[in-house]
């Protein structure tokens, strides 16, 4: 008599720049975490929709009140519009997995949602309410914890999830992580973008760059340490395509996150019981889009050299590592657990 209705599990990674979903029917999707509403009558007429989500919103950004509602992975305080935007993202993600929610015996939807490691309580409450009407039961977990669970890195591991808005750290010591085991830094992909934009404006003020171009370049040519080859970009100058060598700027911008990230890593390591420190040092897992920076794991390992060395690896699938972990959690939780977490 456990379930009259079919149950359906999803893991969702709500990210600043991208959000992904992994579902128990095998569907996996990722979208850009953008939501936009037409700015005015003119835009409404052209767009012919009341709201756009993901890529479509980004592409039409000039006509939209465009929101990236999860800056730092949290619903922004007091911003009704951002709450609505989060709801639109969640709705949209769930619509992508092909669940027929209209039918009478609709499946009960159980969702595990990954949020930054140190989400404030009221923001988590808001997230729960944003899911009302979208899911039946909700469990919120810290993003790096979801990653760890999915990888079964449950003991003696340090997860560093470097996304767009935040870098989230979590030490796994065989127990559910406490406050002490986790850290969140505001230094991540977005701060690299800002840094690179600043350097471009300083060094090449004539080049017409936008944050979107910057991000694209970074995702193509990011590196720390020695450059493998020069980074040359083509930018319009007074309407004329012009080449710029931005190797130095790219390296400098990417490296800007290393000091805070390494410092936090070392700090967390120092808190691990001395006898396990070496195990953890050798099990550092880099996740999140920004972990794709070329040379990042080497740079992290270099920072461990003084402590006697260590090993850092980048997860195989940074896009879905979080949502897959969330799905694993959703499946493993019992029905009575889910009952307690119903909306």
């Amino acid at each position: 008599m456990e379930e009259t209705n079919e149950t359906f599990c999803v893991g969702i990674d709500l990210g600043t720049s991208r959000s992904s979903i992994s579902a128990s029917n095998g569907e996996r999707h990722v979208i850009d975490s953008y939501v936009g509403w037409p700015v005015d009558m003119v835009a409404r007429k052209v767009i012919k929709k009341t709201v756009l989500v993901g890529r479509e919103a980004l592409d039409n950004r000039l006509m939209l009140d465009l929101r990236r509602p999860l800056e730092r992975g949290l619903i922004k305080e007091g911003a009704k519009k951002d709450e609505d935007a989060v709801q639109e993202i969640l709705r949209h993600l769930i619509s992508l997995i092909g669940l027929k929610q209209k039918s009478k015996n609709r499946a009960k939807l159980r969702a595990v949602v990954g949020v930054p490691a140190e989400a404030f309580r009221n923001s988590k409450q808001r997230l729960r309410s944003a899911l009302e009407g979208v899911a039946d039961s909700v469990m919120l977990v810290s993003e790096p914890f979801a990653v760890a669970y999915g990888l079964e890195a449950l003991l003696h591991a340090l997860i560093i999830d470097i996304g767009a808005g935040t870098a989230d750290f979590c030490v796994m010591q065989g127990r559910y992580p406490t406050e002490e085991d986790q850290r969140t830094l505001p230094n991540a992909g977005d701060s690299i973008d800002e840094q690179l934009l600043k350097l471009m404006r300083e060094h090449h003020p004539e080049a017409q760059t936008s944050i979107h171009m910057i991000r694209e370049w970074k995702e193509k040519w990011s590196f720390v340490g020695e450059p493998k080859k020069p980074v040359v970009v083509t930018v319009p100058v007074k309407g004329k395509a012009t080449d710029f060598d931005i190797t130095k700027e790219m390296g400098e911008a990417c490296e800007s996150i290393l000091p805070p990230v390494c410092e936090t890593m070392l700090d967390l390591l120092a808190r691990v019981e001395p006898e396990y420190q070496e195990n953890v040092r050798n099990n550092i897992i880099l996740a999140g889009g920004t972990s794709l920076i070329t040379g990042l794991s080497d740079a992290v390992q270099k920072a461990l050299a003084d402590l006697g060395g260590g090993r850092a690896t980048v997860v195989k699938d940074p896009v879905f590592a979080g949502s897959d972990g969330g799905l694993a959690l959703a499946r493993d939780a019992s029905s009575s657990d889910w009952e307690k977490l119903s909306l």
Partner: protein
């Protein structure tokens, strides 16, 4: 549920408990209690500098204002902020306030405040912005359904917002989608004793490929195309025939004409200059004389600008972009300013 390994089960129980606490509103030492690690606070020296800056800025502003008065009031208020608008404004909706970059909250005077309008002996103080058409009169309509009245109102609202940051007083013939006859618009400007009248329109021109930009001031015209346009724009007249004749006669004796021409020139130049970078196909038709009713009846320097044309779908595409409309509004501000600064004996253009 599948068999879950004991080591996982322990973690899972922890996650569930944390969430149960969340639902019940209990604070636990689990997830989510720590503040985001911020960058370190500014060092004491830096902090002192900030405080000193804050102390000095209002005072220094007064001093600067005093030293520069009377000539540069315009430049204080206008040149500086408006330059930055261009960088700032990305997708500001028409009615929204311009976002001023977030500065130190306790340093309110870091940006010059709007000076009291009464302080400045401006010859040009009050400006009427006239958004063409409205309500039951949509004006021109593009193939894709964009109507002139929507665009003109949007640009007018943007213009008002931008001019709100200058010492000018701005009044509008319409702020919403109302039907207002041309004689009412004229009467509105005259009874309010406005100093300038700026009427915003969007053209409809043939052949469809052309993309003219033109600004009109009052005067007779023998150009049949202009006369046709004038008769189109004059449809919502509201004037009786005898009144119409009387106002028409004024065209020839009006001394406002030179002023209006100068205003038209400034506006046309700024518009063309700033739009052609994004819209290289734009055709600079210059300033023209035409007997538009709103130009004839008004008693102050007055112009009518056709900022774009709805007959060309590429223009329509541009017009649907708020950035483009903002650019138009900004250029109008610049045109008005440069006219006003000449008029007021203050020529600080390019500073």
């Amino acid at each position: 549920m599948a068999d879950v390994a004991p080591n996982k089960l322990r973690l899972l129980k922890g996650a569930v408990q944390d969430n149960v606490d969340l639902v019940r509103g209990i604070r636990t030492p689990g997830l989510g209690r720590r503040k985001l690690l911020e960058s370190p606070p500014p060092d004491p020296v830096q902090r002192k500098r900030i405080r000193r800056l804050w102390l000095w800025s209002p005072l220094s502003l007064v001093v600067i204002a005093y030293l520069l008065l009377p000539s540069p009031v315009v430049s204080l208020r206008q040149t500086a902020p408006i330059k930055t608008f261009e960088a700032e404004i990305k997708q500001t909706p028409a009615t929204a306030e311009v976002k001023v970059p977030e500065t130190e909250p306790q340093a309110p005077a870091s940006e010059p405040h709007a000076l009291d309008r009464g302080v400045i002996p401006l010859a040009i103080k009050k400006i009427v912005i006239d958004a063409g058409h409205g309500g039951k009169q949509p004006g021109a309509i593009s193939e894709s359904g964009v109507s002139e009245k929507e665009i003109t109102l949007d640009i007018a609202l943007r213009l008002r917002r931008l001019l709100g940051k200058t010492p000018f007083e701005v009044i509008m013939t319409r702020q919403g989608d109302q039907t207002i006859s041309l004689d009412k618009r004229v009467a509105f400007a005259n009874t309010n004793k406005a100093d300038l009248f700026v009427s915003i329109h969007v053209n409809w021109t043939e052949p469809r490929e052309i993309r003219p930009l033109e600004t009109y001031f009052v005067g007779p015209s023998d150009d049949p195309v202009t006369i046709k346009l004038a008769s189109m724009e004059n449809q919502e007249s509201g004037y009786s025939l005898s009144e119409y004749r009387r106002v028409l006669e004024k065209i020839y004796i009006d001394t406002r004409r030179d002023e209006s021409r100068s205003l038209a020139k400034n506006i046309q130049a700024e518009l063309y200059h700033s739009l052609k970078t994004i819209n290289p196909e734009l055709d600079d038709r210059g300033v023209k004389m035409a007997p538009f009713l709103v130009l004839v009846g008004t008693e102050m320097p007055a112009i009518l600008v056709e900022v774009s044309t709805l007959s060309n779908e590429e223009e329509v595409q541009l017009l649907t972009n708020p950035d483009y409309r903002e650019k138009i509004a900004l250029a109008l501000v610049r045109g008005i300013r440069s006219y006003a600064s000449n008029h007021n004996g203050v020529d600080r253009k390019g500073s």
